[in-house]
């Protein structure tokens, strides 16, 4: 079986695996600037995976999609996030609710779940990238885990963006990407979302003198 996988598909699988590894690295990373760099790297791997798929299949809109990923997820968003960290003077240490080794173990279980869920769908797919659907779902779940276990508002946002990376990988691997107009719309939403969050962070800090979401647990039902 492995011999019959074309070179390009192996390449895409490789990049998908790198994205998954980076998702784990993000789970383990304690320092905020490095976390943002890891996110940029993940975006880079996603961009390369999309590019390989574009070259192999000759689909023009995949080139645009790769360009969009490069501009937004590798350059613009990490730049905005770094700026925010500097301007807000967030302390570098990221505090996790659960200790990191436990989080990693939970992450491994999530990956297995994701592969099992994706199995019946991957079998139906005819694209060269079908093997990566399980990986994409795993990345989404790991990002979700990161959002649950981290306490800083900015880390949750990185988790959210990483989830978006997983979703784009899913779109590329299952279907060679969504129609162009949809991808543009999604990219626009993500960009506006991050800008609004930037505004929002300043409001939070002015109010709480910190970006720790532990301060934001007062709204309860009683």
């Amino acid at each position: 079986m492995s011999a019959s996988i074309p070179f390009s598909a192996q390449l895409i699988n490789l990049f998908a695996a790198v994205i998954l590894l980076l998702a784990f690295a993000m789970l383990a990373q304690r320092r905020l600037p490095q976390l943002i760099n890891l996110f940029a790297l993940q975006g880079g791997a996603l961009c390369l995976a999309t590019l390989v798929a574009a070259v192999t299949t000759g689909q023009v809109h995949l080139y645009y999609s790769a360009g969009l990923t490069l501009a937004l997820k590798v350059l613009l968003l990490p730049w905005i996030l770094h700026r925010l960290v500097r301007q807000l003077k967030v302390k570098g240490e990221v505090e996790a609710l659960i200790n990191i080794p436990t989080t990693m173990l939970v992450g491994i279980v999530l990956v297995m779940v994701a592969f099992n869920v994706a199995l019946p769908i991957s079998e139906l797919s005819h694209t060269i990238t079908r093997g990566t659907l399980g990986i994409a779902l795993a990345v989404v779940m790991l990002a979700f885990l990161m959002m649950i276990t981290r306490q800083k508002a900015i880390t949750q946002v990185v988790g959210f963006l990483s989830m978006e990376n997983g979703l784009f990988l899913a779109a590329t691997s299952a279907t060679y990407g969504m129609p162009m107009v949809v991808e543009l719309g999604i990219a626009l939403d993500v960009l506006i979302g991050v800008i609004i969050l930037g505004v929002f962070f300043f409001q939070i800090r002015d109010q709480f003198d910190s970006l720790d979401i532990r301060h934001m647990e007062r709204l309860k039902d009683n």
Binding site: H126, V140, M147, V181, I196, L219
Partner: protein
């Protein structure tokens, strides 16, 4: 000029204008005039659709049929009345020093953009654009929820953004899976996400993928509908944001999210053998109804309580659409209308009441009927209406849902009655002393806008007593579209 283009262009253009000129004295009037224009365009579009049948716009990218034109009309109408209500309400807030001029500008421009995103979500034919518009609707309202910049409102807005963001990410995964299923049938043209193309081939879509896709879509958009256990953002966002925002979130946004689920359900029903989608919705609906009903009695904040009441009604409506069939769909659509109108009327009354008494805590709001009889009666009648008392329209739709459930899903009836009963006891017991009783509240600098409250309640009352035949036909037509 095309009514459809006008309807989308007016809120978009006035949103942009208000971003620039939102601090001028005439800005609140522009907000109302723009909402009026949107409403007139929507009314024109509605008559056009009723007369000529479904139509496309911008190629095949937008599609308006009797189902979504009904939501469009409702959205534009409540958008108009809320803008009328928000005029004096926001002036009072500014007078109390709770809002500065730049924030009022932010409010007005975001309000118009929010209307635009909702109308775009309702009329788009592309399920991908539907997702984009739903996400944009969240983004436009995040800063509105945190408009007061109090710690509680920031927390509410943060929760709203993160929970809805995660939820809507699930919906995107669902949309990707749907596209994957569609692409196998329709090929790689850009048409594979167009609902009108999908509906033609729904029987050929791969059932396994569609089932998984519908689960993700239901959970994703369900987060925005406020389906338990993903409803946590909703009470916070409703309680901490300004009241006009609570009114449109509750009366409109929840409907739009539910509409997204309904469109996907039609496709899922066609593809998956058995009643998979319906059963899921029945389960979620009943669970939501019960959870909300039992949380209702623990509320101390009046807006929070009515937010839980919205969750409860969304549960009931989801249950109705889950049962499916012409009667239940008809009842579901009717209930959505009634809930939108009644709940926004209640929020209008509550907004003025909290302004007068300066608190949202129900134990400190007393004797509304003495402060301002109109607000007092508005709140009382609105509460009776939302609790399903005859002769209001909510009674008619709840009665239809209950009788249909008794006939086809008898096991669900006790659960429904329990939920509705608990909700009745909780809400009525708390509103009654708020309306009657002694008080020492002061006068407001700007007279409140009472007309929208009674306009909404009047329509709800009328629809409870008599539904005009053309409206019945229209509802039937829309219900039929849902299968």
């Amino acid at each position: 000029m095309d009514f459809f283009v006008l309807m989308l262009a007016i809120p978009l253009a006035s949103g942009a204008l208000l971003t620039v000129f939102g601090e001028r004295d005439w800005a609140p009037n522009l907000n109302i005039i723009a909402s009026l224009g949107t409403f007139l365009a929507a009314a024109g579009l509605t008559t056009e659709i009723v007369a000529n049948g479904p139509r496309f716009a911008f190629g095949e990218q937008f599609f308006i049929d009797s189902l979504n034109v009904f939501f469009v009309a409702l959205t534009a109408f409540v958008g108009l009345t809320t803008s009328i209500f928000s005029g004096p309400y926001m002036r009072n807030e500014a007078e109390h020093g709770r809002l500065s001029k730049p924030r009022l500008r932010l409010y007005k421009s975001m309000y118009q953009l929010f209307m635009f995103t909702m109308l775009a979500a309702l009329t788009t034919n592309n399920l991908g654009i539907l997702w984009v518009a739903m996400e944009a609707a969240t983004l436009t309202t995040v800063l509105l929820v945190s408009l007061y910049r109090t710690p509680a409102s920031l927390e509410a807005a943060w929760k709203y953004f993160i929970l809805c963001g995660v939820g809507i990410a699930q919906a995107l995964f669902g949309t990707i899976l749907l596209y994957f299923a569609a692409e196998r049938v329709l090929g790689e043209s850009g048409n594979a996400l167009l609902w009108t193309h999908l509906i033609d081939v729904k029987g050929q879509l791969e059932p396994t993928i569609m089932a998984l896709s519908f689960i993700f879509l239901l959970v994703g958009y369900g987060t925005k509908v406020g389906l338990a256990p993903l409803h946590n953002w909703l009470p916070d966002a409703h309680a901490e944001g300004p009241t006009p925002v609570s009114a449109v979130l509750s009366g409109l946004l929840l409907n739009v999210a539910l509409y997204a689920i309904l469109r996907c359900k039609v496709l899922a029903d066609g593809a998956i053998p058995g009643d998979f989608a319906g059963r899921l919705m029945i389960g979620f609906g009943l669970f939501t109804l019960l959870v909300a009903a039992f949380f209702l009695s623990r509320q101390k904040d009046v807006k929070r309580m009515f937010a839980y009441s919205s969750i409860e009604h969304m549960g009931l409506i989801t249950f109705a659409f889950g049962m499916g069939g012409p009667v239940a769909n008809f009842a579901g659509l009717l209930h959505m209308t009634m809930h939108s109108l009644t709940k926004s009327a209640i929020f209008f009354a509550v907004g003025h009441a909290t302004q007068k008494t300066g608190t949202q805590l129900m134990e400190n709001i007393r004797g509304l009927i003495k402060i301002n009889p109109l607000i007092g009666w508005g709140l009382m009648l609105g509460t009776l209406a939302i609790l399903g008392m005859p002769p209001f329209g909510v009674f008619a739709s709840e009665f239809m849902i209950l009788t249909h459930a008794m006939k086809h899903y008898p096991w669900a009836t006790p659960v429904l009655l329990l939920g509705l009963g608990v909700a009745f006891a909780a809400i009525f017991g708390k509103v009654q002393p708020m309306v009657f009783g002694e008080t020492e509240a002061k006068r407001l600098p700007h007279a409140p806008a009472i007309t929208p409250v009674f306009l909404h309640l009047g329509i709800v009352l009328m629809l409870g007593l008599y539904i005009p035949p053309y409206l019945t036909r229209w509802f039937h037509e829309a219900a039929r579209m849902l299968g």
